[in-house]
Subunit: 348 residues, 2 copies
């Protein structure tokens, strides 16, 4: 129905295959492994990034570990699976889809099985189901969210909530894609997204691949482009959404949301319901702090400051519900009051 321009995550002959997003946009290199430790390190090192992609890759990594284990004893396979789940759950603390996907795999792992074959089959099937659902969910998010987009819209997006952040198709960029496929005349403004430049490296790359017009700005131009009337909608992804509508997403999202509010520009979040954390309170949310070298050096190459300066590197920030116009999920668009309406959509 829609073209799949790139598969960031895939399952090939019992192995996980992923596009190493760190090498984009200059090199398109795919990695493959049946080793969950290898996948865990790819997630930590951000070869695989984006909340849905992390969840799917982790699920497939457990499946690969089970498929390729050399034992035929169910209890040993279960132990291998649980160890893999434990290891993968320690890769990154903020993206909720990781825990959601591993929880789904774990519930399958804990069932009783008559033999190793049926255990393996069940785990692989659940992982593949998570994988396929992710693609279907993204397409659905695109189709639902597309209704928010009008001809001549200029849509600002942050970081990469695209094909490269999911199994395929994307979340925020799914909305943009479907609008584009339907012939709407739209343009995108992509923030470069320091420190790791996912906007400049990934969003620009995947939009240009499809011919969707995109203009790159630095993160600090957000206020300027809004002031100048160069943007009329914002759509971003999410790493975790709380029941009360707090949105945890890539560092910089909150600042964009504040600026959008001042200019009366709608601020939308696009994410699958698997990003919604129904358990945590705001105070429970752990914001990952990454190495400050990511700030002090650009792409591990150019030192841009004094070697021994202190720096901060929170990977995410928290956008308050009052700044969020709507959340586009595969089940529909949720608007305030969030506490009530997120609950409603989850049980719908």
């Amino acid at each position: 129905m829609y073209p799949i321009i790139v598969k960031a995550i895939d399952w090939v002959n019992g192995r996980v295959r992923w596009l190493n997003t760190n090498l984009l946009p200059h090199q398109e290199v795919y990695e493959e492994s049946d080793n969950h430790e290898h996948v865990a390190r790819a997630i930590e090192g951000m070869e695989i990034r984006g909340a849905p992609a992390i969840g799917v890759a982790a699920a497939l990594a457990v499946a690969a570990a089970v498929v390729n284990a050399s034992t035929e004893r169910v209890d040993e396979l279960r132990s291998i699976a649980l160890k893999a789940i434990e290891r993968l759950s320690r890769t990154r603390p903020t993206a909720y889809n990781l825990f959601w996907a591993l929880e789904r795999i774990k519930s399958v792992v804990l069932i009783q099985y008559v033999d190793a074959e049926s255990f393996r089959k069940a785990v692989v099937e659940e992982a593949l189901k998570i994988y396929r659902e992710d693609i279907e969910t993204n397409i659905r998010i695109g189709e639902i969210g597309e209704k928010l987009i009008n001809d001549d819209d200029v849509i600002l997006t942050h970081c990469n909530a695209g094909a490269l952040a999911t199994s395929a198709f994307g979340t925020a960029l799914a909305v943009i894609r479907v609008a584009w496929y339907k012939g709407k005349k739209i343009r995108v403004i992509a923030t470069e997204t320091r420190p790791l430049l996912q906007g400049a490296r990934l969003t620009v790359w995947e939009l240009k691949k499809e011919g969707i017009p995109v203009t790159l700005i630095t993160d600090n131009m957000v206020g300027y482009v809004m002031y100048k009337g160069l943007v009329n909608k914002v759509i971003v992804g999410a790493d975790r959404i709380l029941l009360d509508g707090h949105v945890i997403n890539k560092i910089g999202t909150y600042t964009i949301a504040i600026a959008a509010k001042r200019h009366g520009i709608p601020f939308y979040v696009a994410a699958p319901t698997s990003t919604i954390d129904v358990k945590s309170k705001l105070s429970d949310v752990k914001i990952e702090e990454r190495s400050v070298d990511e700030v002090k050096r650009v792409l591990n190459k150019v030192l841009i400051t004094v070697e021994d300066v202190e720096a901060l590197n929170p990977a995410f920030d928290i956008t308050s519900p009052d700044l969020v116009t709507g959340i586009v999920t595969e089940k529909g668009i949720v608007t305030p009051p969030y506490l009530e309406n997120i609950r409603k959509i989850l049980i719908s």
Copy 2:
């Protein structure tokens, strides 16, 4: 009275001497020239940057042109000076101090003189007066602004409004310096300031040189640090201030001001009255658009995106008066209503 840690601009034996800020923080290289074209290119290429530094350097460049001209005819010297003024005025369109300083030199150039010696003397004296006044003005800004700073303040600043943006001492950083010298326990958060990274390269360098504690963040962390309560004051410089209180400053300033407003954090601008443009309306202000290569490449080295992507590169943005808590000048702190109070301070 206060230590002068670095002289970004100087006058040495009839020549302009400047620190090439493009090479900081890794190399501290001084350039010297008596050729106004050479200085003009150093301003365009941002070896010399920051509104007050540009103004002083331009004035000294005209003086150097006059001092080193090989004619003894006043009309020829005048013609040389006017050509230099014209060329220097085309270097950068936004920083008001450039036009203010060249206007001062021009008024001296246009007077009648009995001989070349008195012409040369008058021009050099006016340029040196502008230079010395800049340092005195900055110290005064520091002493006046310092009263706004309390023990344990954490002050966010953007770009570099320091010694490296002026003849010496700085504007926003003068306030921070004087507070520090008076023993106030303060810390600074410096935004890296893409695309040219003046925060990471220059502000960090000069603050560390004096031992003032500084933490580097990316531009998109501004909302986060405010949300987390890690900042309680903002002080920035200005490239042009309109009578109604609009502040034109380095791209990103406006976004910071919006975020500060949301968090109830005072947002101060520190600038000499020579930055105040009493003639222009908002619609007259030209925002310099620089090469998009500055955005697509980091420090002319690493290509961070797809080669042929469209990009924007406005060097400045405009902060609305409702976001500005106060403007610290050498004549006092101006608060709203600006139209009334800026006029008052100018005639005081």
